[in-house]
């Protein structure tokens, strides 16, 4: 009983290994005293709204600083210029293709990396032989900085979609693999033993006991992987591409278009946040179901 509770608590405290939520979609760590439910901050919709305060203040500050011409327009264009840059790109029909291709690359790479991470994490987490054989190698590969893969990938796959998606998949693979692998080591041995005592083994045992037990770990791994996927996307697109938000960054830098550069950064922030929020919602539901 106590071990079970301990495990539950362990899972609960380790699962939201994600940045703190300001929008209230993820699992809130700062759980409040039930007696305080009438506090203003705990009312529905208040917390997400409050999360917009600081960005709005920053926007105003940016506008003021730009209007005061503290920096040159090349160093810091005013918000309006960034907005106009967006409109310009939309009119040329470029913005959607930049966004579209980047999102496509991230989702593909994330999906492939996450699936492989789960397969390897499960196999290495469950089989001692596979663990002994492969874990040292994967540990070493994990230590390779992302950019180090780029020349090799370009050499092997040319500057096409394959090399970029592969790089992103590499980035997404490791967080999923690592958290699942570690999660499986910490599944309550009492439950596993109970499963075995009732004749469960192999995949049936995995499906019934171990997999549900690591659902929280899988989701924290997925969220880390998604963040990593956006990171690797920019790495891939900065170096070799003719489209995408990373390309927009380098291209704008080369042409002195700071407005577009800032636009690209804002888009990356917004897209990253949206995808993370969606995954956070899925995580919340999964954790409610599986713990």
């Amino acid at each position: 009983m106590t071990t079970l509770e301990q495990t539950e608590r362990l899972l609960e405290t380790t699962s939201p290994a994600t940045p703190p939520d300001t929008d209230g979609t993820g699992t809130a760590l700062n759980t409040t005293n039930p007696a305080d439910t009438t506090r203003f901050i705990d009312r529905k919709g208040v917390k997400p709204a409050v999360g917009f305060l600081v960005p709005v203040v920053l926007l105003v500050a940016w506008w003021v600083v730009a209007a005061a011409e503290v920096f040159t327009a090349v160093q810091l264009p005013p918000p309006v210029a960034v907005f106009e840059a967006a409109v310009g790109l939309i009119q040329r029909g470029d913005l959607w293709s930049h966004i579209g291709i980047s999102v496509q690359r991230v989702l593909l790479g994330f999906g492939i990396g996450a699936v492989l991470g789960m397969i390897f994490g499960a196999i290495l987490g469950l089989s001692r032989w596979a663990d002994a054989l492969l874990t040292p190698l994967l540990g070493a590969l994990r230590a390779v900085p992302s950019l180090a893969w780029v020349p090799l990938l370009i050499l092997w796959m040319q500057i096409g979609e394959d090399s970029k998606v592969t790089l992103i998949a590499i980035g997404a693979f490791f967080p999923v693999f690592t958290t699942l692998y570690a999660g499986l080591q910490h599944v309550d041995p009492h439950l596993v033993e109970a499963g075995r005592a009732f004749g469960y083994k192999g995949f049936r045992l995995f499906k019934t006991v171990q997999l549900p037990a690591v659902v929280p770990s899988i989701f924290s791994g997925l969220r880390l992987a998604l963040a990593q996927a956006w990171l690797f996307l920019v790495a891939a697109e900065l170096i070799a591409s003719s489209m995408g938000l990373g390309f927009l960054l380098t291209d704008s830098q080369n042409n002195g278009r700071t407005d577009r550069l800032i636009l690209a950064i804002i888009l990356l922030a917004v897209l990253g946040k949206i995808t993370d929020t969606l995954l956070g919602l899925a995580e919340k539901r999964a954790i409610a179901r599986w713990t």
């Binding site: 079970l4 033993e193 004749g199 549900p212």
Partner: protein
């Protein structure tokens, strides 16, 4: 070893030591026990004497023992499919409903319709029909223990191993569950080995009571005595023969006869 003698379970010179790098502690030593098919055996002994350890050896949950454990003449296998165990802790899957937890105990390949009916029947027997769709965290400790009992019974095993199955139950539920165990046993005749702390429970339920205590000769616990309650079941706890046995049992557990008769 001839097959199908009167013994369903045989322990021959069973011992168990636990230890890590060099330091080894003998827990069980020299356990010799023959359990006939259909018997109800209680194992009783002080906390830490090795009751759970013995039960785990019988069920093949622990195969690190020395000596022999035979079930119907063949050595016990790891997680022997002929046994079902109710653990000392309920060990329910926290994400699964009570129904699904009990269904874990069903033999593999039970057809769906049979499974549903059987689980519902068991939940009804242990008084959990109302809690069928609850999660373990939504039920009390005693309810969890009954779910664990139902899960073990769902297996319909040859040998039922129960580690303090009624320990967390209130007095009334305990009596009901003891009666349930006897009813089910009357129907199925399943060999049952049960660990208990409760002397009266042992006296009312079992055919024989095995007392574990420190071996006088070596380190570790062994069978200090085996008591056989005289009357057939159902028994009345005030039966004079039981009263005498109770005192002997309590003395064996190191309790003065003057103390409360509750174990």
């Amino acid at each position: 070893m001839t097959h199908a003698n009167t013994s369903a379970v045989v322990c021959r010179n069973v011992g168990r030591a636990f230890g890590t790098n060099g330091t080894s502690r003998q827990i069980l030593t020299n356990i010799d026990l023959e359990i006939a098919a259909g018997e109800i055996i209680s194992i009783i002994g002080a906390s830490g004497s090795g009751k759970s350890t013995l039960l785990r050896a019988l069920g093949g949950l622990d195969v690190g023992f020395t000596g022999e454990v035979l079930i119907d003449g063949t050595a016990v296998a790891a997680y022997d499919p002929r046994c079902a165990i109710g653990f000392q802790e309920p060990r329910l899957l926290p994400w699964a409903t009570v129904t699904d937890n009990v269904a874990i105990g069903l033999p593999e390949g039970t057809p769906k319709s049979t499974a549903t009916a059987r689980v519902a029947e068991l939940l009804d027997l242990v008084g959990l029909a109302e809690a069928a769709d609850h999660r373990p965290r939504e039920i009390s400790g005693g309810m969890a223990q009954r779910a664990s009992l139902a899960r073990a019974m769902a297996r319909d095993p040859e040998i039922l191993l129960l580690d303090e199955p009624f320990g967390a139950l209130d007095a009334l539920t305990r009596i009901k569950m003891q009666q349930l165990l006897l009813d089910v046993h009357a129907q199925t005749g399943t060999t049952t080995v049960m660990v208990t702390h409760d002397v009266d429970e042992a006296l009312l339920l079992s055919d024989r009571i095995v007392l574990l205590d420190a071996s006088p000769h070596t380190e570790g616990a062994t069978i200090a005595n085996i008591f056989t309650p005289p009357a057939p079941r159902p028994r009345a706890s005030h039966d004079p023969a039981l009263v005498v046995l109770r005192e002997a049992l309590l003395a064996g557990l190191g309790v003065e006869p003057l103390a409360s008769s509750k174990g």
